[in-house]
């Protein structure tokens, strides 16, 4: 895709993001705030899975770590909520980096297993300890906007601040953070480092032969990817007002990977598309399924009506969509990720 088209695309996207709250109501603003959060998580996952080729079913685990960091720092230590975001990114990033070491020697199915296990385990670690609030979790203060129409004095001049609702404030903050994350991501995968990462995905053996240090770049990829997840998790916690072990279940990790597949891995624009998919699926799958259910009912099948509140429906819908996408992809998932390295077993 030519550069100018890409720049145009991003410019259009930026314009849409900035303009949106003026045209839609509060619920939609919240939806698209979550899109920014998922986009952040997917930027990280893209770096790890789409570019370095390390399959991860555990992005949600690092999000949860980030969310708990936010919970502990803001509720237990009085930090301002938004300031916890970089801290959460740091904590999650370190965790990811450390996980990268054992992950060095895992590939393909085994890496998928290990990251899946991580996604299942982090919630149970959170349940086990008191400082994480056990199974009840940590309650957060309701987020507030700093712009409440108050009057302040700047250089002796009286200025009336605009009134911005909390939801709109969070929307712009989240997208702001996502934008920063996007720029950082572009910088991160550029040049020598980006080539090294891509080389690892293509063929680890060849990469090593050309002098790429697998240990350095893989752990780095895990760490950076986890940092993005941590930031996303922090925002997620703030938006949810509470951090519990069940806040980010295994299915969220899977949904993120599915979003990457559906949106198109390897490109950050694809990550944003994936994020839109991840959010919309959760909200609108009942509507998608509605006509199907009606048809089934008319044929006489004993299926009850579905609405937004019916649990499980989003999962069924995106699971089926994922199957369809996998089926239709001309070279399978491998074509998408271009030969994710290491599906054969490793030598000890």
């Amino acid at each position: 895709m030519p550069i100018w088209l890409r720049v145009l695309g991003y410019a259009a996207l930026a314009a849409a993001v900035i303009a949106l709250p003026h045209f839609v109501g509060s619920f939609t603003i919240a939806e698209f705030t979550y899109v920014a959060v998922y986009a952040l998580a997917l930027f990280g996952l893209n770096i790890l899975t789409g570019i370095t080729g390390q399959i991860s079913l555990g992005q949600g685990a690092f999000m949860l770590i980030g969310a708990y960091t936010t919970g502990i720092l803001s509720a237990h230590h009085g930090w301002p909520q938004l300031l916890t975001v970089p801290a959460a990114a740091l904590v999650a990033g370190i965790a990811g980096f450390l996980f990268g070491f054992p992950a060095l020697r895992l590939a393909g199915v085994y890496l998928a297993l290990a990251t899946f296990a991580l996604a299942v385990i982090v919630p149970s670690i959170a349940t086990a300890f008191d400082f994480t609030g056990g199974s009840s979790g940590i309650l957060l203060a309701l987020p507030t906007s700093p712009f409440t129409g108050q009057r302040i004095h700047v250089l002796g001049v009286g200025v009336t601040m605009p009134t911005v609702g909390a939801d709109t404030w969070l929307y712009y903050v989240s997208w702001g953070i996502a934008a920063v994350g996007l720029v950082v991501a572009f910088w991160f995968v550029r040049g020598k480092r980006g080539r090294a990462l891509r080389a690892i995905m293509e063929n680890e053996l060849a990469a090593t032969a050309s002098g790429v240090s697998l240990s350095r770049y893989k752990t780095l990829a895990f760490g950076v990817s986890a940092a993005y997840a941590g930031a996303a998790g922090a925002l997620f916690g703030i938006l949810s007002f509470i951090v519990t072990p069940g806040l980010i279940p295994v299915t969220t990790s899977i949904l993120l990977l599915a979003g990457l597949v559906v949106g198109g891995a390897r490109s950050f624009l694809g990550a944003i598309i994936g994020a839109i998919f991840v959010e919309l699926i959760q909200v609108y799958s009942a509507d998608v399924l509605g006509p199907v259910v009606n048809a089934a009912q008319q044929v006489g099948l004993p299926i009850g009506d579905v609405d937004k509140a019916t649990p499980g429906v989003p999962s069924v819908v995106y699971g089926v969509i994922l199957l369809v996408v996998l089926f239709l992809m001309p070279r399978g998932a491998a074509g998408l990720f271009s030969r994710i390295a290491g599906l054969t077993r490793r030598v000890v």
Binding site: I55, A117, M329
Partner: protein, 300 residues
């Protein structure tokens, strides 16, 4: 840190419970190994399929008034059909493709089954009857029938399967189809149906696993998610192609984590899973072919 008050009665009860939960891990691990041996797929959805079939058993007992054992056997049969159908309808189109796609397909199945469970039965916990009630006492130690029963049922299932594969014509054909599909076709074996049967048996094993564990952890949609982690650990313990390794690994892991949970106070109940996870990672790192498996060299 170690609980120094050691009561032998408590110890044997803990051992009994540990073996029972280990048997649950073992049967799901065996299901994973079975599918891997026949179709070379690691089925991430194994646990969710097991949960789904356990909910079917629940429906039979709770909504239709069946007693436990008829529901048990009916569910095993239903699970077989479900597993075989899943293989034929959903897995088969992807069989020729690359392994990564297959992994993602089974992950999609995970999500679909999980969603179906919540959709059909709702997210709340349900009471599932135990197969065995009451206790018996040996030398002052009181042991639950359920614990012994779970181990017995699981071992019986494993033995029946072993007999099937070892001594029947179809069992032999299934093994042959897994070893050399093309040569099997030349002998007249419908390899595709053998794969379907492999998935069927695995689903039945999963159903057994689910029905044995549901009374303990209460039936809920994410019931098998953490058990899947334990079972993966057990499956890779012996090398993902070893049925014996899966059974031994499952029992050992159940025993180990339960004993650690009971006697090392900081582990308790919640950290058993992370401990198992550490075991899983350690095994994968030290001996990727598993402690009992063959050494596999990466082809360049």
């Amino acid at each position: 840190m170690l609980t120094l008050a050691f009561s032998s009665s408590h110890f044997f009860q803990t051992v009994a419970f540990g073996l029972a939960i280990g048997a649950v891990y073992a049967s799901l691990a065996l299901a994973i190994v079975l599918i891997y041996r026949t179709t070379h797929v690691v089925n991430f959805a194994q646990g969710e399929m097991a949960t789904f079939t356990t909910y079917i058993a629940w429906t039979l007992t709770a909504n239709h008034g069946w007693s436990f054992w008829p529901a048990f056997f009916a569910t095993i049969a239903i699970a077989f059909v479900l597993g075989a159908a899943t293989e034929r309808v959903i897995i088969r189109p992807f069989e020729r493709g690359d392994p990564l796609t297959l992994i993602l397909v089974t992950i999609a199945l995970f999500v679909i089954f999980n969603g179906l469970i919540q959709w059909i039965w709702g997210p709340d916990q349900k009471f599932f009857p135990g197969a065995f009630s009451g206790t018996f006492t040996i030398r002052g130690v009181t042991i639950a029938h359920q614990d012994v029963g779970v181990v017995a049922v699981t071992l019986a299932t494993v033995v029946v399967l072993w007999l099937f594969f070892r001594f029947t014509k179809m069992g032999l054909a299934m093994r042959a189809a897994a070893i050399a599909p093309v040569a099997s076709r030349l002998m007249g074996v419908r390899v595709g149906w053998m794969y379907a049967a492999g998935w069927g048996f695995a689903a039945s094993l999963g159903a057994v696993s689910g029905m044995m564990v549901a009374p303990v952890v209460q039936l809920n949609p994410s019931m098998m998610q953490s058990i899947l982690v334990y079972s993966f650990a057990a499956a890779v313990f012996g090398g993902i192609e070893s049925p014996l390794g899966a059974v031994v690994g499952g029992l050992a892991l159940g025993l180990l984590t339960t004993l650690l949970g009971a006697y090392v106070s900081w582990i308790g109940v919640d950290l058993q899973l992370p401990v198992a996870f550490t075991v899983l990672i350690a095994v994968l790192l030290i001996r990727p072919a598993g402690l009992l498996g063959r050494h596999v060299v990466k082809r360049v």
